[in-house]
Symmetry: D2
Subunit: 337 residues, 4 copies
């Protein structure tokens, strides 16, 4: 932590701050500059609120220096984490492609989609049994029946299943059926849920919240890891900005930023990240080119009939087109499909 004093601060102002720092059990290091004095603070092992001292007289600003995450950081573990989702590695040299419907609607439809994406090269099946919907009057998902359908589709296709969990009460149930538990953007800071999936014994796909900073995303992953679960996959799915030609703004620079700070793998979801079918393919390509470890895309055999998010789902034909384009991009960045 660094405390910056006002230009007009005198010796006794600095001493008052030094005393306050020491009273917190920390060490103060005054640094007198040309125009003002700053005071470095060391000795804080955990997280001290940066603002805790900023109301003392003649304190201009308090600047946080230490980052409160640990287990997720590359300083702590230099080598990349590779998460195994039902045997499929996420985070290694091979790009992981997760595909499937937004919501599970019926066995027939789900199996048809699973087969379609499997044939075209998908590695993992995604699909929602419990759906977080903005309106209480929208389709809320099939619940346990949806989980059974996903398991059936896995058996028929061999694709491991990734599905969302919305509430701590559902964690055991979802963990029983799924290969990977998804925590959605709206729940990224549902800390009880993060703790619960941290104890569930299954890998976790953690989506970035619409207003989450990188530090908050990493701390959400730290919640999962601090409960003993090392298998966390991050996922960029767009942030909320004023920009209005897509539903969200995909913040792809988070890919190299995560790579620098953390050992965890990161995927991109261009379907929710854009909300527009015609932008999914270009942004999938861009994600892999930026260094993502994979993508999660929505595919539906009849998007116009989908009960949820139809307009952003790819048709099987468009998914074929995507899968035809990605290998060359992957190769260009030293990855394979």
């Amino acid at each position: 932590m660094l405390i910056v004093m006002d230009r007009t601060a005198g010796r006794e102002d600095v001493e008052r701050v030094v005393l306050a720092v020491e009273r917190l059990g920390l060490k103060a290091h005054p640094i007198p500059g040309e125009v003002r004095t700053a005071i470095g603070v060391t000795g804080n092992r955990g997280a001290i609120d940066p603002a805790a001292l900023e109301n003392l007289p003649r304190v201009l600003e308090v600047i946080k220096v230490s980052h409160p995450y640990k287990l997720v950081s590359r300083e702590f573990q230099p080598e990349d984490t590779v998460v195994s989702v039902g045997g499929v590695p996420v985070g290694g040299r091979k790009i992981a492609v997760m595909a499937g419907p937004c919501a599970v609607e019926s066995l027939e439809m789900t199996v048809a989609i699973a087969r379609a994406v499997k044939e075209r090269g998908a590695d993992l099946l995604r699909g929602g049994a419990f759906k977080p919907r903005t309106s209480p009057y929208s389709f809320q998902g099939l619940g346990e029946e949806g989980l059974e359908i996903l398991a059936e589709a896995r058996q028929l296709t061999g694709l491991p299943v990734v599905t969302e969990v919305l509430d701590t009460a559902h964690v055991p149930l979802v963990a029983k059926w799924a290969d990977c538990l998804q925590v959605g953007a709206r729940n990224m800071q549902n800390f009880e849920l993060l703790k619960a999936v941290g104890r569930a014994g299954k890998p976790v796909l953690l989506k970035r919240g619409m207003a989450a900073t990188l530090e908050e995303l990493l701390l959400a992953a730290e919640y999962v890891m601090s409960e003993g679960n090392p298998d966390v996959i991050l996922c960029e799915r767009g942030i909320r900005t004023f920009s209005d030609f897509t539903r969200n703004t995909l913040d792809l620079a988070i890919i190299p930023a995560v790579e620098r700070l953390s050992h965890l793998p990161i995927l991109v979801d261009p379907s929710h990240g854009t909300g527009k079918r015609n932008k999914v393919i270009p942004m999938s390509r861009a994600s892999i080119a930026a260094g993502a470890d994979g993508i999660a895309v929505e595919v539906h055999v009849r998007p116009e009939e989908a009960l949820s998010d139809g307009p952003q789902a790819l048709t099987p034909d468009l998914f074929s087109e995507l899968m035809a384009q990605l290998p060359a991009i992957a190769a260009a960045v030293g990855r394979s499909m």
Copy 2:
């Protein structure tokens, strides 16, 4: 819904859209204009995804018209809702002041703060027993012990208690002790929690999420109301923007916007909304001047020792100053304290 056709759309393009609309059981009303044709769509009682038709040939744009909320809307109920929190009305002529510590730390401290705010005119006691913290290494609250402490403080001061609930599993417990259940900003779209508090039989204080639009806030309230709970109080607590001199950006224009669209009362939380003690008093005044039904502020007898959010808490002296300034503002807008 309104479907806008491309300038180059011919008769058969328009007919294709009309047919697609009718297949959904809706009625299409083509409106030929100077340069392009638009097609009005009526007959949709519920929520149709605006984008569902936008991938048809020569469709330029699909514009949503109906709003999917109902119970929360002023169209549905013209007169203002007044929520009674343990006997204290929120939403009527009288401004409601909710004050207390961010987190409940001990019985002694909580009672001291409750007495301090009661003496200075607060109507309701706020304080967290379950705390949502960005880092897993920060103080997470006292849990049930904290709820008992709040109940004790209520008995000693007569102030009804508002406290946050983080997880569906805690709802019965919190509802047993508290007069009003708070759903925090990070959980505004935790839909399972919204349903659970909708069935808990206690008023709900619903905080706006950091990236939530007004429509999403109203739909979150609709979740609570659609479970049978009419007693919802909205709360603006700042949105996340690039603006960096406060922790969040208080979006006070939401007050007249809510008043126009909904019958529900709305409070403002200038403590979390700014994150800076020195901005709490001016923004509290601004909130009341803009027409808010009350404020929720953090007060601590020794803010520098608080385990959570100390730097934004007012001291009792500053709270006195605030309570001395508000009545004149309230009177200027036809309200009382």
Copy 3:
């Protein structure tokens, strides 16, 4: 400036940074902490780019400490600046009310509006002769004819005139006719224009850009002041965010933030700040309650016929209502009208 080293940085990494700092003519102060070393940097009088050293090995982060503004800062001048606009003080105890049409459309209309606002208590007349319009096909203003009309309205009502200048080439012309030159939000970082109005010998009303931080706003004012013009009035007019029920999001907490950092007065423009007539009165009240030195509002005698921004303009009746409500708010914060 503070340079934070990686946890794994060794002695030679720190020494390399110290050397690089000294090569820039600055002084380095290493501060060894529990888990990592930070290096304070002093001796920089001007602005050094914070990032200049962040690509050296094992540097985790470089944090800027000094603020590059000087003349605008309260450290430099503790007492409030009061700007005289044609004899009307802005920034003192008295609240300044600036009112008028968005664009000057005709002599008759402008005089009618000027009289209407003068009668109801306005202090200054605002109105655009040169209009910045998003579309090239929108009304662009009357230019010099508009300036003459404003001068005529001033003569008939005694109200000093504030009007926008869009281009360096127009500065002498606008300065000849107006009492105060407005630099609009879109030009807040048009640095050549800032320098030109800094030499024009007239007060400047500087509007915050839609994406401007507080530091950028203060540095834009510093451009004007560094050319020798001390008479700068800041103006908050809303920032661009995802929030969509108003045209912009008024960031009222900037009022106490400016008061803390700068001696310059600050107004609020709730007309552009909300873009909605029905939100102008509540947000005007909120602005004064938050401590603003005045407001700038659009008034039109027939808003539905206005060539520019009609829907946000108040009618004379609504302006009367506003002027009836403000004195009590002003009194509540120790100001007068």
Copy 4:
């Protein structure tokens, strides 16, 4: 335009709106729905402010339908525009790479950089002679001397020159020396400057403003085109959001969005778009993968000594690395280098 009436609107409310529409010379088309009536408005050739009717009784909302741009739109010109910058095509099959220093500092340095980027395959030389700087105390550029240096570098390397123009007064001078005039992000809505470069007879590189919507960017281009200049190149350089690990947030989905709406070419500037050297290469790859027509990157032979934006400039070695990676990405999207 579509006017949506309140649920409670009666026949006379609808008739009042119809009358108001007709009084504006437009045609009204009432569409009675299940729960409310909407009124389509046709006949508006130019831009009518969407809000112009929203204060009439029982009007719930007014929705804009027509887009006010024309010359820039793909509806108007279906085939792609290819702009020739000193003989180098921008917008065709070949990817354009623009590289050079942020600011021109000296003849020797500029020629060294120009040679370095030419050898490594750059197509165009970029560099600032007039620099927009946030602080008045930062280096403001060499002005005309800088333009002469750029021209000298062009002569020695054959690279056409792109350089920024800050003020209408400089347009003739810059147009005399440069092959392409850049309008920077801060000036995207400096409409007088847009008109001036529209008359300068040279191609224009128009950077998106930090808070600009796509519609505003296209309308800024429309200003240039409506003065008779068809040679406009758009450039994404990041928008301002809360996301804080890069200086700006690159909004790459604008690439397919522009492609859908406009025939103009679009480049990406990953140097300003991220502000971090270590993110320039991944985001350059992502830009080409998303379909951009080229990139503009900062290169400096000694970035640590650069007078402006050094830390985001690539070294020649890093630029070599980038140029080695791009061809495979370009090939994957059917383009060449």
